[in-house]
């Protein structure tokens, strides 16, 4: 047994004893179950597995630290009202905000941050990492790191545009349907049903096979596929508002539809709609990444995370992590947005789940 292993178990057991002593029941259960898991993995996977757990725990602690600091930072710079809300954010949400912030910086300042151009061939294919190239080269000898940074701009940008379009389309029809009711409501509901009864990826593939894979086509198709989801949610949220007496009062006053939507309904629907925008972004982002991965999304030489995974996939069979990095970048952003959305949904639902 190495000192590492002894230290490892000593730390865990010591921590669980402390937790037990201070009656932190849940913390104790967590640490102690980790200890038990470590026994098993230690026997099966040897020291390597224990080192892996240590690294993972270290990374988690690092992420927690960064999130905590970032939340405090936001609380200090934000106005009073926002700061009060931020104080309720769990660390996961703070982590999400931090990642989104980082991605935004990377995307906006991509040409400044990236050491090389997006399509610049600077070395041989699959060259390993060196002091010039942080992550090595891709299948054509382009700098992986630079392409990753540009990818933040291209992939995320495209997803944002498509989401916004889907959102405007869906939310407007949803609000109108809820306000007007009658045949318009019925018709839009049916249309949404039909579009949603085809799996989204399948629908996208069908449309792409017909219209080709230009950026414009992708944005339109993705927006079309996802707007029924926004429509349904907006319709439901607005539907709950429309039955309120204050809407009836406004209608009886003789107000027009536009006033009803703008002044009466929209201010009461923002919280769920903002959360929905986050969720919608995740779906759109994953769909576009999936299409790119299939070679049917953003076309080369534009740097894009989905296609980067596909282009470098062969490296996996040599035990290389490189192709996983753009995939991880996708996952990280989606997770982060989901964390933030999860918090917002919890806030807007109040204490329903207690």
């Amino acid at each position: 047994m190495s000192t590492f292993v002894i230290g490892y178990y000593a730390l865990l057991i010591g921590a669980s004893c402390l937790a037990a002593y201070f009656k932190k029941r849940q913390l104790f259960l967590l640490i102690f179950s980790l200890t038990l898991i470590s026994f098993v993995t230690g026997i099966v996977g040897g020291v390597g597995a224990l080192r892996f757990i240590t690294v993972a725990a270290g990374l988690l602690a690092l992420a927690a630290g960064v999130s905590y600091a970032f939340r405090e930072f936001l609380i200090i710079i934000a106005s009073d009202g926002v700061a009060k809300e931020l104080r309720t954010a769990p660390l996961t949400a703070a982590f999400g905000m931090f990642v989104i912030f980082t991605y935004a910086i990377a995307g906006i300042f991509a040409p400044i941050i990236a050491p090389f151009g997006e399509a610049e061939v600077i070395s041989s294919a699959f060259a390993p990492a060196d002091e010039n190239m942080l992550l090595g080269a891709d299948q054509l000898g382009r700098d992986m790191f630079s392409r990753l940074i540009y990818g933040a701009r291209n992939t995320v940008g495209l997803a944002l545009v498509a989401t916004s379009l889907a959102f405007i389309l869906g939310a407007l029809t949803g609000l109108l349907a809820a306000t007007k009711g009658g045949w318009f409501d019925q018709l839009m509901g049916r249309v949404a049903d039909v579009i949603m009864s085809v799996p989204s990826l399948i629908f996208a593939l069908l449309m792409l096979s017909i219209f080709g894979t230009s950026l414009f086509v992708i944005v339109i198709i993705v927006a079309l596929i996802y707007s029924p989801r926004v429509f349904r949610l907006t319709r439901a949220v607005a539907g709950n508002v429309v039955v309120m007496d204050y809407i009836e009062a406004a209608k009886l006053r003789g107000e027009g539809n536009w006033y009803l939507i703008r002044r009466e309904i929209l201010p009461n629907s923002t919280a769920p709609l903002v959360a929905e925008f986050g969720l919608e972004f995740c779906f759109v982002f994953l769909l576009i990444a999936g299409l790119s991965f299939l070679g049917l999304g953003i076309q080369p030489p534009t740097a894009d995370w989905g296609s980067m995974v596909r282009e470098n996939a062969t490296l996996i069979s040599f035990g290389e992590l490189t192709p996983l990095i753009p995939a991880a970048a996708i996952a990280l952003l989606t997770v982060s947005v989901n964390f933030v959305v999860d918090w917002m949904l919890f806030r807007s639902s109040g204490l329903k789940e207690v």
């Binding site: 007496d245 204050y246 009062a249 209608k251 009886l252 006053r253 003789g254 002044r263």
Partner: protein, 550 residues
């Protein structure tokens, strides 16, 4: 006094906390309570008094998001706050039972009524299934449920609300508990149904000499049921006394004010007699339907300027539907609505701005009647701006003037949002919004029924004053006859979409009546503790059974 050994439940300095906005806040502040065997204690208080929370605590139970934070609850020698959950569970259903407010929601839709009834006795091995079922039928008999041998084999949604409430009382009785907690068992019911349930509950509690805690906000109801009354306010006890004494001579100011509420009464006004005077609103032979279901059948009545017409009836009688026809939300299938002698277009979309302005509405739930995201100044100012084009400083003056009228300080309320206001203040804002349009006719839809009594009194007085000042005509939709007595000039009684009787108020409250009006009037609980007994004697016990079968 009753000797100490008969004490069944003794609660001392009970404190309960609720979780909101990320912290625990005390909602019950040290309440004491003593209950003897066979005694019925009435817990009375306005919303937020902590009645239900205390009732549940008597079972050692706290809802999710609540916790018992201090004090002691001793049930028959057992300290419930320290008893382990397993032992507490053994008490529930067997020795302490609970009857919830909404029977329809509290019966599991997936099981037959009798199977839910027999669950506790079988679990506690008091009876075998067959015995328990026979016992259930016996209890159904005693509670005068129709078809007692068969009704238990139905599913909850197949049985009416009043019957379900009695079935739930039977279920609570299944193990012959020492104590039953009744949590507003008749609040969701109509007055005529309420009588049957009250009578049934009182009988069965008497027969088995069961102790009970009866929770309600209705003084007249608790007067019929309880031996002792305890008044609560915001989680604290105000006073406790035997029922007779509490009704005759309450000692605390708060209690006196509760008792005094029903005293407001203004003189009845008569219809204008001079020739040529026309009603401001005239409902003429109106039929209406939701889809294929006819809900209004040949409804006609008139409302004259400056007068209040109360439309009374139970839920489903069509009184709110009539209001929807008048406002144009539900176009009548037959007949018409006249305004100042002119026929109104049936749909509100087809009415002119001026026609819409003339008739305004005040809603029952002030919470849903005011947009929570719009400032008070805009809520009140919008009608003035919309109808009259008032803007800028002039608009601000108008809003200030309206706030003064409803007795809210303009400096304080101008920039606030509805969620920051209390229920009564919100209702006042609702009134101001209606006034802002300079109407001549206002529909008041149960405007006081969601409010605590003192606040409701204030609203009624305000409405009365405004009527004098602006010569407003009111259509007052209500199921509460006390309100009718205090403010109405004329009364329209509705039942199942038809007008059964109408006339001047004083006539309506003096016999002879239409049989339904009679039933309705006599069913409204009175403060007299002997009211229920007297009424049942008058009607004869059979009438309850009959009414139950309706």
């Amino acid at each position: 006094m009753v000797p100490k050994k008969d004490v069944l439940l003794e609660v001392k300095d009970l404190r309960i906390e609720g979780y909101s906005d990320e912290q625990w806040i005390e909602i019950v502040h040290g309440v004491d309570l003593t209950l003897h065997k066979g005694e019925v204690l009435g817990l009375i208080g306005e919303s937020g008094a902590g009645k239900s929370t205390i009732g549940l605590a008597a079972m050692g139970f706290a809802r999710d998001g609540c916790r018992i934070s201090g004090g002691s609850i001793e049930f028959d020698g057992m300290e419930l706050t320290t008893t382990p959950e397993g032992d507490l569970r053994a008490l529930r259903g067997s020795r302490i039972a609970y009857v919830a407010q909404s029977a329809a929601a509290s019966f599991n839709p997936a099981h037959r009524i009798i199977d839910q009834h027999t669950e506790a006795p079988i679990q506690y091995r008091i009876q075998k299934r067959v015995e328990a079922q026979e016992d259930a039928m016996e209890l159904y008999h005693r509670l005068r449920l129709p078809n007692p041998d068969e009704i238990g084999f139905r599913y909850p949604h197949q049985v009416s609300g009043g019957q379900l409430q009695r079935a739930m009382t039977a279920m609570a009785m299944a193990c012959r508990p020492d104590l039953i907690i009744f949590d507003e068992p008749t609040t969701a019911l109509d007055v005529t149904t309420q009588i049957e349930v009250l009578a049934a509950i009182r009988d069965i509690v008497d027969q088995f000499n069961t102790a009970a805690i009866y929770i309600t906000h209705d003084l007249a109801v608790v007067a019929q049921m309880a031996d002792t009354i305890k008044v609560l306010l915001k989680g604290e006890e105000v006073e406790e006394a035997p029922t007779e004494q509490m009704l005759d001579a309450p000692s605390e100011d708060y209690t006196k004010s509760l008792w005094a509420v029903r005293s407001f009464k203004r003189p009845q006004k008569e219809r204008p007699t001079e020739a040529g005077s026309i009603p401001i609103v005239s409902v003429k032979n109106v039929d209406a339907a939701y889809g294929k279901i006819k809900v209004l059948d040949d409804v006609s009545f008139d409302i004259y300027p400056g007068m209040t017409v109360a439309v009374v009836g139970e839920s489903g009688s069509g009184k709110s539907t009539t209001a929807r026809c008048i406002t144009g939300l539900l176009p009548p299938t037959k007949g018409e609505i006249q305004f100042n002698g002119e026929s109104l277009p049936p749909r509100y979309q087809d009415r002119t701005k001026d026609q819409l302005r003339q008739a305004q509405m005040i809603y029952q739930m002030a919470d849903t009647a005011l947009n929570p995201k719009i400032k008070i100044s805009e809520i009140i100012g919008r009608p003035a701006q919309f109808y009259r084009g008032v803007r800028g400083a002039e608009l601000k003056n108008r809003v200030d003037e309206l706030l003064d009228l409803i007795e809210l300080d303009p400096a304080k309320f101008y920039n606030r949002y509805p969620p920051e206001l209390s229920g009564g203040q919100k209702q006042r804002v609702g009134i101001a919004r209606a006034l802002a349009a300079d109407p001549s006719f206002i529909i008041c839809d149960e405007v006081t029924s969601a409010l605590d009594q003192l606040v409701a009194e204030g609203i009624l007085k305000l409405l009365d004053k405004l009527q004098e000042d602006f010569n407003l005509a009111y259509m007052f939709i209500t199921h509460d006859l006390a309100t009718v007595r205090s403010i109405a000039d004329e009364v329209v009684v509705m039942q199942r979409g038809k007008v059964v009787e109408q006339g001047a108020k004083d006539e309506m409250f003096t016999p002879p009546h239409h049989p339904y009006t009679d039933l309705l009037l006599s069913s409204v609980p009175e403060m007299d503790p002997n009211w229920l007994t007297t009424l049942l004697e008058e009607r004869g016990t059979d009438s309850i059974g009959e009414a139950a079968n309706v």
